[in-house]
């Protein structure tokens, strides 16, 4: 604790060593107001996100994409928006997909309702599990799963069943004999499961990443070295995907289509929270400079 000799602190001293709880309170108030009453904000799409969107959007009907969805409730704020936008795009493009998960055994139970709900939406071509997409479910062993998939995709998922038969016998896996037959592997994750893909995936299969913003720093190098076809970063990335969806299926031509969900919703509280942070940093600096000037503690 800083012991100040004089009984009365001036405002700069108070601000310099402000009790952190005041900052916390302001953050809670700002976020609460904007979560309840969100404001619509404009968007400028990130090129790395657009790169993945354009690649996936350019796929033809009936192409196959392998998805690894590793997010849990702990990164729901970012990953859910990304996942929903990805599902909408693939369904509208009629791209077949298979989803597996490495993070947690409960993930299939979390994402299946989301997929089914999106499949009911207009424009989603009434996607059916076992017909247009399959859930390969949970794999406990990250290492073995990724190498297994790379070595022999059919063998790796053949034990997983849909409606009493192996998922590799469903129409989804028709003509898919090797992972390189998949047009892309998309990993949606909030943890470092992506590293194994970099290590194991052979060069011919393309890899796309949807990650939390925190992971972008360490993964952008892989985008630069082209080990990734594109990278969708955090809630902003989800908002980018939603914006691109809305560009391809604009609201006036396709009035019933849902393009925007949590990506846009979380953008305005996020903006004001970040503004608060910048303001706090500025105030802290002014306080420090003022104190230095008045010869207080530096």
């Amino acid at each position: 604790m800083i012991q100040e000799p004089q009984t009365e602190k001036n405002i700069w001293q108070t601000l310099y060593a402000i009790d952190r709880r005041w900052l916390y309170l302001i953050l809670i108030i700002v976020v609460s107001i904007l979560v309840v009453n969100p404001i619509t904000v404009p968007n400028v799409v990130d090129p790395a996100a657009k790169s993945l969107y354009d690649y996936l959007s350019g796929l033809e009907e009936g192409d196959f994409v392998y998805i690894e969805s590793d997010w849990t409730n702990s990164t729901r704020g970012e990953s859910r928006g990304q996942f929903e936008a990805l599902m909408r795009l693939l369904m509208r493009k009629k791209v077949r997909f298979c989803i597996s998960t490495l993070g947690d055994p409960q993930i299939p139970d979390i994402i299946r309702p989301i997929i089914n709900q999106i499949a009911q939406e207009p424009g989603s071509n009434n996607y059916q599990e076992g017909q247009d997409w399959v859930m390969a479910g949970y794999f406990p062993n990250l290492e073995a799963h990724v190498s297994g998939l790379v070595n022999n995709i059919r063998n790796a998922v053949k034990d997983k069943q849909f409606a009493g038969k192996s998922i590799v016998d469903t129409p989804v896996f028709e003509g898919i004999n090797d992972l390189s037959d998949a047009k892309c592997v998309v990993v949606i994750t909030g943890s470092s499961t992506i590293n194994l893909w970099y290590e194991r995936l052979r060069a011919k299969t393309k890899l796309g990443l949807m990650c939390t913003a925190v992971m972008s720093g360490e993964n952008i190098p892989y985008y630069v070295s082209r080990q990734l076809v594109g990278i969708v970063i955090g809630a902003k990335g989800a908002f980018d995907f939603e914006t691109l969806l809305a560009e391809e299926w604009p609201a006036d031509e396709y009035p019933d289509y849902t393009n925007y969900t949590s990506g846009r919703r979380y953008m305005s509280p996020l903006f004001f929270a970040l503004m608060l942070l910048i303001l706090a940093v500025v105030v802290g600096n002014i306080a420090m400079i003022q104190l230095k000037k008045s010869g207080g503690r530096s």
Partner: protein, 245 residues
């Protein structure tokens, strides 16, 4: 209008005290919300409510680890290979022979429990040594596949000829110089007597701060969104103070 279903309405309380256990019911959300508030109380200061929540959390988490190990490791990766499974035609499962040698893992791993023994303490090093040895062996593969492609990417054209434009060439030069300068900061054993090397090393530290600043910037976004999502959970899903998505 929006308060019709919210915590300020009698319906909300009626619904809560119905103790409906269906997924996504108000009762179940309330359990989660109270625990969330318990953890958030740490922001004010450490208190009994936080301590209670923390102990519930650690208890559940450790319990779940035990369950997960049995469910996902010991049963499928040890018991099943050791005992094998007979063919089941109705389920279309092929026969898996019993690899009974897996049994050896049990006493081997149990040697770790000698860690508390004064006399035979060294035996615990055997299982731990096997685990760490397996990790160490993998590092050659990991190093090769993770880091070398990145070094390879440092080879970029810096001459503005052919398809390389002037800005590209400058950027490429900056990339390589930054990389080399930062790496030079991490050279430990060469006496940094010369002024030049000391300067480079200092600049390397500054450039490193650029990298860290970038991480800080990108991370802040994630962290705030997670809190916003929790605020959404508490205010919209639990208290129903606004319109859901």
């Amino acid at each position: 209008m929006i308060f019709a279903q919210s915590v300020f309405s009698p319906q909300w309380w009626q619904e809560l005290f119905r103790f409906d256990t269906a997924e996504g019911s108000l009762f179940r959300i309330t359990i989660g919300a109270i625990l969330t508030l318990g953890l958030y109380s740490l922001l004010y200061r450490e208190n009994k409510f936080y301590r209670f929540t923390e102990h519930v959390f650690v208890g559940l988490a450790t319990g779940f680890s035990v369950v997960a190990i049995v469910k996902e490791v010991l049963y499928p990766q040890w018991w099943i290979p050791m005992m094998g499974t007979p063919a089941n035609e109705t389920l279309g499962v092929e026969m898996m022979p019993a690899h009974y040698l897996y049994g050896a893992l049990l006493p081997l791993a149990c040697l770790a429990f000698f860690v508390f023994s004064k006399k035979h303490g060294w035996l615990s090093r055997i299982p731990l040594g096997i685990i760490v040895g397996l990790w160490a062996g993998q590092q050659l593969n990991a190093f090769q596949n993770r880091f070398l492609p990145q070094i390879a990417d440092q080879a970029r054209p810096i001459l503005p000829v052919g398809e390389t434009t002037v800005p590209m060439a400058i950027n490429n030069l900056i990339v390589v110089v930054t990389w080399i300068v930062v790496l030079s900061y991490f050279v430990y054993s060469f006496e940094q007597q010369s002024k030049f090397l000391q300067r480079t090393s200092m600049v390397g530290r500054w450039l490193l701060m650029v990298g860290f600043g970038a991480i800080f910037g990108t991370t802040m976004m994630t962290r705030f969104v997670l809190f916003i999502d929790r605020a959404y959970f508490l205010l919209i899903e639990w208290l129903r103070l606004g319109k859901p998505l």
